[in-house]
């Protein structure tokens, strides 16, 4: 699909650090200046929940933005190219933002302690897929990577506890095109969604194996890399690329897919599973399904873990699911809405490609636009810090 082609950002670590610099705390907006001492965020003064998301700025540059719970910009970090997902450390003090595939950079950002981000480049022969997660103790970061000549998905393991980030090992994901990943609550198992689509950076964003793709969700033992469970869908759904995930309060993993087959079909797009229980597909009523273009963008659970939201940016809809029963609780219209984050006890923050940040109290209320920074396009994923 050539119209989705974007240039692979040529990335120079030195040029980035000297040319763009690090965290910029924003003055002159709508802020309480005391929270911004010495160019860093002061958590003791910022007594509000914070959120982070990559975005495209009005001038076409890419940044990672940190906002408060009223959607107001607080700080910004320039990115060398378009971002995608990120990982937040267990103590919520650091985050690592990944390049969108097939990008090769990741930035480790500590907005409360140091203004200069640490830059990580993927090793030769690899690129990042846009997602990662921290280990339970916050010392390691797991990043999904493409070993594109060998056509295999890999999780790069990075030690981020020292002054320099070190790559200390890797795990195989047992599939192609690993996309999103989760750490289970006990911190011992990684859940990885293998999207199944073969790509090569020499042919950016082209899909090379649509006829034979076999996506899966795997459970990996972090101790030894063993494959604990491998969940695939029925054969007739082998073109449903399983990509984004969330875990609910019952320990179920929810996964949202993007269908690579005939777009006139309306296959199921959302499934839930556990390590020992095979995927159970949810039902999207026909009239809703036909408008989604078979494409789920983000999957996120609310803070209490009883509702899971799935965004469908091509259909301009967000769907809400009961974690307990798997039933569709409701849908809301958000044009180009994709990023989702839990806010308050049970609500969601929704970001969209037209700059809007909306607060949704519950699935049946309307998305209340909190802020819409001019000229900004929020990227696919948003996170609570």
């Amino acid at each position: 699909m050539p119209w989705t082609a974007t240039d692979r950002t040529p990335f120079s670590r030195r040029a980035f650090l000297t040319g763009l610099g690090g965290l910029a705390v924003l003055a002159g907006t709508s802020l309480n200046q005391t929270a911004l001492a010495e160019g860093l965020l002061d958590r003791t003064q910022l007594d509000v929940p914070l959120f982070a998301s990559p975005r495209r700025e009005a001038d076409g540059s890419f940044t990672l933005s940190i906002m408060d719970d009223a959607g107001q910009d607080i700080a910004r970090v320039p990115l060398p190219g378009r971002g995608h997902g990120m990982a937040v450390s267990p103590d919520k003090n650091r985050l690592i933002a990944f390049a969108r595939r097939p990008g090769t950079f990741a930035l480790l950002i500590d907005p409360f302690q140091r203004s200069e981000p640490q830059v990580l480049s993927s090793i030769p022969g690899r690129h990042f897929y846009g997602h990662g997660c921290f280990s339970a103790d916050g010392r390691l970061v797991y990043a999904v990577e493409n070993d594109y000549e060998a056509v295999r998905g890999v999780i790069g393991v990075y030690d981020v506890s020292g002054r320099e980030i070190r790559r200390v090992g890797e795990l195989e994901t047992g599939g192609i095109g690993p996309h999103d990943l989760l750490l289970t609550d006990d911190g011992k198992t990684l859940v990885v969604a293998n999207g199944g689509i073969q790509t090569h950076p020499g042919r950016p964003r082209e899909k090379l194996n649509i006829d034979t793709m076999t996506p899966s969700v795997v459970y990996l033992d972090l101790e030894n890399g063993d494959l604990l469970a491998n969940h695939a869908l029925e054969k007739d759904l082998h073109q449903l690329s399983l990509r984004h995930m969330a875990m609910d309060s019952m320990g179920q993993v929810w996964v949202g897919g993007q269908f690579e087959g005939d777009l006139s079909l309306t296959p199921p797009l959302v499934a839930r599973m556990t390590r020992d229980q095979a995927p159970r597909l949810t039902e999207i009523p026909g009239p809703i399904a036909s408008g989604l273009e078979s494409y789920i963008g983000s999957v996120v659970a609310n803070a209490s873990g009883d509702i899971v939201a799935t965004s469908a940016p091509r259909g301009g809809k967000v769907m809400f699911w009961s974690a307990a029963t798997g039933e569709l609780l409701g849908t809301q219209n958000v044009i180009d809405g994709c990023g989702l984050a839990p806010i308050d006890e049970s609500a969601f923050l929704i970001s969209d490609g037209r700059g809007g940040l909306s607060y949704l109290e519950e699935p049946s209320s309307y998305p209340d636009v909190l802020a819409r920074p001019a000229g900004v396009a929020w990227d696919n994923h948003m996170f609570a810090l």
Binding site: W3, S30, G297, R314, S358, P367, V369, R372, A374
Partner: protein, 362 residues
């Protein structure tokens, strides 16, 4: 139909990228027509109205009479109306240096401006009475939305200049806001008039021109701002005002409803978006089979504007009236239809693309 149009959009984009079907300057005439035919006159009109506001505050604060109050309220309405004609131009000189947020802090669902004004008043912070210092303050304190909060009461009466302990302080702050708005409006006008400025970037796309590398990207910048403007009217202005039912309607969520100018602002936005769209003369780019689209769009705009003009103003007072509520509910349907016709049908027929996540997600 919709899938066909999206397929058409994809096809023409693919052609553009291989350089076979479309010339590099395919849309430059449209861009030029919008800048000359709409953006420059509209930003000049806004600057003109903004420059007329400070004297009305001086007069009112010298002697508050029914006449000086009326003159100020009229002047404020004129500025707000002119602002409605430029606030959807969310690109280039309009948004540089936080100008748009400084002119009006919207949306403000959490009442940030009111809270900051209270805090500033409690401290009697003198810096907000000086236009130069005000321009360095929180954007929520700087513009027309802050002025509305201090100059009008909840019933829409002008209270600026009324006797009271803080009268002179509030008057000085109001004057500083009006001067700040005047300055920003002039900067926006000048920025758009500058032949070597942002207009030149829109008109001379190229590989070294930032994000505007082709005339298609230039017209998409404009086109997508018009679509975003329609989304703002519906999602950000009408829906929070209407709530889920008439009992939960919140008139204060309608921009500029406190001063009684909510209807005027909505009409100005719709008229502005439509006039900008007409100025582009997209009919020149359309094959005959698609010429119904602009006609349909202008018919819908006319319906929406006529609906608003038939409302009992001010909406702040009339919203709980069933008839007003129903008319605004109907306007939501009109806005949906307009959005779909423009963002799907017209964009498809023109070969333009819109969504950031939708078209190029992951």
């Amino acid at each position: 139909m919709r899938n066909f149009l999206i397929a058409a959009a994809v096809l023409s984009t693919a052609c553009l990228e291989t350089g076979t079907a479309l010339a590099a300057d395919t849309y430059t005439a449209n861009v030029r027509q919008v800048i000359d035919g709409y953006i420059r006159p509209a930003t000049s009109a806004f600057a003109r109205q903004a420059s007329a506001l400070p004297p009305t505050i001086d007069a009112l604060c010298t002697t508050a009479t029914a006449q000086t109050k009326e003159d100020f309220a009229d002047g404020y309405r004129d500025v707000v109306t002119a602002f409605g004609g430029v606030s959807f131009l969310r690109f280039g000189p309009t948004i540089d240096d936080h100008r748009l947020d400084s002119l009006a802090f919207m949306p403000d669902a959490r009442g940030i401006a009111q809270r900051q004004i209270r805090r500033t008043f409690a401290k009697k912070d003198p810096s907000i009475t000086d236009p130069d210092q005000l321009s360095g303050k929180s954007v929520a304190l700087q513009g027309l939305t802050a002025l509305q909060l201090i100059a009008f009461n909840k019933d829409g009466d002008v209270v600026l200049g009324d006797p009271g302990e803080d009268r002179d302080y509030i008057c000085s702050y109001a004057s500083a806001i009006a001067q700040n708005v005047d300055r920003i409006a002039t900067e926006i006008e000048t920025g758009w008039l500058d032949e070597d400025g942002y207009s030149a970037r829109l008109l001379n796309p190229g590989p070294d021109n930032g994000q505007i590398r082709t005339s298609k990207e230039a017209i998409e910048t404009i086109f997508n701002a018009l679509v975003t403007g329609l989304i703002i009217v519906k999602d950000q202005e009408l829906l929070p005002t209407l709530g889920s039912e008439i009992k939960k309607a919140k008139a204060h969520r309608l921009p500029f409803s406190r001063s009684g100018d909510g209807r005027a602002y909505l009409i100005a936005e719709l008229q502005g978006i439509e006039t900008a769209l007409r100025a582009a003369h997209f009919e020149q780019n359309l094959d005959e089979e698609f010429l119904w689209i602009p006609d349909s769009i202008h018919f819908e705009f006319a319906n929406g504007i006529a609906n608003l003009e038939s409302l009992d103003a001010p909406i702040r007072q009339s919203l709980k009236n069933e008839k007003t509520y129903q008319k605004l509910t109907l306007l939501v349907i009109t806005m949906n239809s307009l959005r779909d016709t423009i963002a799907l049908e017209l964009a498809g027929a023109l070969g333009l693309s819109g969504g950031f996540n939708a078209l190029d997600g992951d």
